[in-house]
């Protein structure tokens, strides 16, 4: 087991390197540079800035220079935040996305798994259709619709949550992470509910379950002991990308609730062609995703003996 984990962690390095290289060259091909503005600066100024940031060198040289800094964990200066380095930007924005993502994850898991279990157990009855239909709503209403609706209801009308901002908003009871997390979490809760239900039904239809029932094993034990584990398997496989997706900040909720997280920074950096920040966040997200996939695979192995070789 340890060997497997160590092996996967080592694989992180070539994977990140490939991510870095591919993104680097992609950003170079996309048109538009960091210094163009509605009001054009003179060509000399642009040349000057390009020289300062090393953008006038040949691409492969820029690439190598960048790579040599990255191995020392230096991702360079941000073009958008002119007095901050990329590391500093990620350092201040990520904790915010992390808080929202973690909360959303918990909400998604708890609500989703519970709904899925109830639905599976009461298959084709009201208690199946109801949770499944509600969870469908979670998928159908995009975050950029649910978000403003929640902001309206919980922020303006009920005055429970802040409408915008992150720091020091003490005059409402709920922390600014809550509404974004709920908006985001409901979306993934719907997915998880369906996966759980599907997985559990797969188990519940199998022969050994009928045997157990025939033997008189109480229903709740059947569910908790056997079905649940199988039900959670597809969920666990999904958890890796799920958590990574949540953490990438779902920039839409960050934008709607105006929260200074990393997702918003990333999208802004793409639109501003802030190459160091784009690359820094991509590598950072990439590492997160790979690590979470690893965690999810490990948990899967632990839970399902069938997948052990």
């Amino acid at each position: 087991m340890i060997k497997v984990i160590a092996g996967r962690l080592l694989q992180l390095i070539p994977v990140l390197w490939i991510i870095l290289t591919l993104t680097f060259f992609m950003t170079k091909i996309v048109p538009g540079g960091p210094f163009s503005a509605e009001r054009q600066a003179t060509p000399e100024v642009i040349a000057q800035l390009n020289a300062y940031y090393g953008l006038d060198k040949p691409v492969w040289q820029q690439y190598l220079g960048y790579l040599s800094k990255v191995v020392r964990f230096d991702f360079g200066p941000s073009y958008t935040y002119q007095s901050e380095s990329v590391n500093e930007v990620i350092g201040r924005a990520f904790p915010i996305s992390l808080q929202i993502g973690t909360l959303a994850f918990c909400i998604a898991l708890v609500i989703g798994a519970t709904a899925g279990v109830i639905a599976a157990v009461n298959k084709n009855k009201l208690l199946d259709y109801l949770p499944m239909s509600i969870s469908m709503l979670g998928i159908c209403l995009p975050t950029f619709v649910l978000g403003p609706i929640f902001a309206l209801v919980f922020g303006l009308v009920l005055k429970l949550a802040p409408v915008s901002g992150w720091y020091g908003l003490n005059y409402v009871p709920l922390h600014p992470a809550v509404m974004p997390a709920v908006t985001l979490g409901l979306f993934y809760a719907a997915y998880i509910a369906r996966l759980t239900r599907g997985g559990m039904l797969d188990i519940l239809n199998q022969d050994f379950i009928r045997t157990a029932r025939a033997k008189g094993v109480p229903e709740h034990e059947i569910i908790l002991r056997h079905a649940l584990r199988g039900g959670l398997l597809p969920v666990v496989a999904f958890l890796g990308p799920c958590f990574a997706g949540l953490i990438s900040g779902s920039f839409v909720v960050e934008k709607v609730f105006n929260v200074p997280g990393l997702g918003q920074e990333f999208i802004k950096s793409v639109f501003n062609r802030d190459y160091p920040l784009i690359l820094g966040t991509v590598v950072f997200f990439g590492a997160l995703i790979v690590i979470f996939n690893l965690v999810s695979d490990v948990v899967q192995l632990l839970l399902d003996p069938r997948s052990r070789n």
């Binding site: 048109p31 509605e38 002119q82 201040r92 918990c106 303006l156 409408v163 915008s164 501003n272």
Partner: protein, 556 residues
């Protein structure tokens, strides 16, 4: 249940519980700093809560590029003169308490008041200004708008490295308190010009503490390092959230500053800003979403303001394309647009249809009234140009960057051209940088554009159309036009000068390398408790005059 399963579930439960506890417990831990204000407290403590739009990229005046940055910097750094309370064309003393100029406005002398100080105790001297302009004109610093200072004698040569000695540039500190500015030509509008970011002073000691005169991107702009000479000082800067400034006790006119502080919130989305205003988090927004304007005008007219603004919304025409190279065609395109309908039905903020290029409000300059809505004449012109009823007219694309109003206007114009002229255009919205690229490399047919005036003189709208100007981007060039602009730059008498510029614009409007749409307004929401926020056409308010009424005002 297996132990593995139990562990997993247990971990998740712990995680969840921890998050819940942390979420509700944080109330006790955070300090009740000034930005957790409700309107009532803010009014009582005289803290103005505003949003200025997106996060500023820098607060270094020489590196700043936009309106957002300017509005924040203005609170902390004051230039030679400052905006007056209710007339954008007038000024009040800033760092300079008196000034004079020669007959043709080409040499100005400013006297720096002896009581002007920086927030670190240093006196403000004329040398500070020389240092700041030198920094701006040092090529290795890479100031994006260095060319704003080319109007100084010898500045362009210094920037390009043709001269090495900054003494050759037309700005001199005669002594500690007298600054002499020599310009390349008559500049009657200098007082408006020197309020712009590029002309603001910075404290040399602070800059040099963090690097050389030309070191970019240092941390001098961070809270705690930022040295100011204006009414306010920077207290905190939380990126993408809020910038707090508080009263500067060393400001020379601190006694007359009414507010105790300002919080600049960075909120890009107009819907979010509107909600924050309604929730009582802001005194003033910087925009209002299109669909809410009629609601506010009808139900809460006391909360919405629509001020005239020095900006023009237009489409650039790439006149090198076939058919678009014919001035008759361009005029036809302009005459076929019902601007009143667009302003009334889509924008609804009392914008003025643009009948010329330079908007009204530029002091004594009379805006031109040449372009109207005349579809009959448009059809006639198009036929004369060889495309009767639009037959044979090539298909063009209107490029614009992604924004709801740009799309709505483009769709309306597309429809109008189809109905009135019988021509077909397609629309393409592009992401911001791609759009800029398209425009700057002139790879477009028709491109949406806008221009906001920098200072109170029509030349800020007209100088961009000279041949080869970086902001022209239409292939249009007319030597007569260039000659007129140059002549104006050499004319000392303000009235004559404006006449020349008027003629230049007439020439421009007869060739029309643009499609005129409307002249901007500045629409925003503001609480009645905010006092002295007069309508100013550049939107540059002197914060020292702003006050808050100390009574409870609730937003609807």
């Amino acid at each position: 249940m297996s132990s593995a399963m139990r562990t997993v579930i247990g971990l998740i439960a712990v995680l969840f519980a921890g998050v819940l506890v942390w979420m509700f417990a944080r109330g006790t831990a955070t300090d009740r700093s000034s930005y957790s204000l409700t309107l009532r407290e803010a009014n009582r403590n005289k803290i103005l809560l505003l949003t200025v739009g997106s996060e500023p990229r820098t607060l270094d005046p020489q590196a700043a590029q936009g309106v957002t940055e300017h509005h924040i910097i203005m609170a902390m750094i004051e230039g030679l003169v400052a905006p007056s309370i209710n007339d954008q064309a007038k000024v009040v003393p800033g760092m300079a308490d008196r000034w004079e100029h020669n007959d043709d406005y080409s040499v100005w002398t400013f006297h720096i008041g002896e009581d002007r100080k920086w927030s670190n105790g240093d006196p403000v001297t004329a040398h500070d200004f020389v240092f700041s302009y030198k920094r701006m004109l040092t090529a290795s610093f890479g100031a994006q708008y260095a060319e704003n200072l080319y109007i100084l004698k010898g500045a362009e040569e210094y920037y390009r490295g043709q001269t090495r000695n900054f003494d050759d540039v037309g700005v001199k500190a005669i002594d500690d308190h007298n600054l002499r500015i020599e310009l390349v030509g008559p500049t009657p509008y200098l007082l408006s010009l020197v309020q712009h970011d590029s002309w603001l002073p910075i404290n040399p000691k602070t800059i040099l503490k963090f690097g050389n005169i030309d070191t970019r991107d240092t941390k001098w702009t961070h809270a705690g390092n930022y040295v100011a000479n204006g009414p306010f000082l920077m207290k905190t800067w939380r990126p993408n959230d809020v910038i707090e400034v508080v009263r500067n006790p060393l400001y020379w006119d601190a006694a007359n500053v009414k507010l105790n502080g300002i919080n600049f919130y960075s909120i890009e989305n107009s819907n979010t800003a509107g909600r924050a205003f309604q929730a009582g988090q802001l005194h003033k927004t910087d925009q209002v979403s299109l669909d809410k304007v009629p609601y506010y005008r009808r139900v809460h007219p006391e909360l919405i303001r629509i001020d005239p603004y020095e900006g023009v919304y237009f489409y650039r025409i790439n006149i090198s394309r076939k058919a678009l190279d014919n001035p008759k065609v361009r005029l036809a395109l302009n005459l076929a647009i019902d601007r009143d309908a667009i302003v009334k039905n889509i924008l609804r903020e009392d914008q003025k249809p643009a009948t010329g290029f330079t908007p009204p409000g530029m002091g004594d300059y009379t805006p031109l009234n040449k372009i109207t809505y005349d579809p009959e004449r448009a059809r006639q012109l198009l036929a004369e140009a060889g495309y009767p009823k639009g037959k044979g007219f090539p298909k063009f694309t209107i490029h614009f960057n992604t924004l709801e109003s740009h799309r709505a206007i483009a769709e309306a114009i597309q429809q109008m051209w189809k109905e009135e002229l019988g021509i077909d255009v397609t629309l393409e919205n592009q992401e911001w940088k791609v759009y800029l690229d398209t425009q700057n490399s002139m790879n477009y047919d028709i491109s949406r554009s806008a221009w906001i005036g920098d200072f109170m003189d029509p030349v800020t709208f007209l100088s961009m159309w000279t041949a080869g100007n970086g902001n022209n981007n239409t292939h249009w060039a007319n030597s007569k036009y260039d000659a007129l602009i140059e002549q104006a730059a050499r004319t000392g008498d303000p009235k004559t000068r404006l006449d020349i510029l008027h003629r230049a614009e007439e020439l421009f409007l007869s060739e029309l390398p643009v499609v005129l749409v409307y002249w901007y307004t500045n629409t925003y929401l503001v609480q009645p408790s905010v006092q002295n926020w007069y309508p100013l056409v550049l939107g540059n308010h002197n914060y020292k005059f702003i006050n808050l009424k100390d009574e409870f005002e609730r937003a609807k």
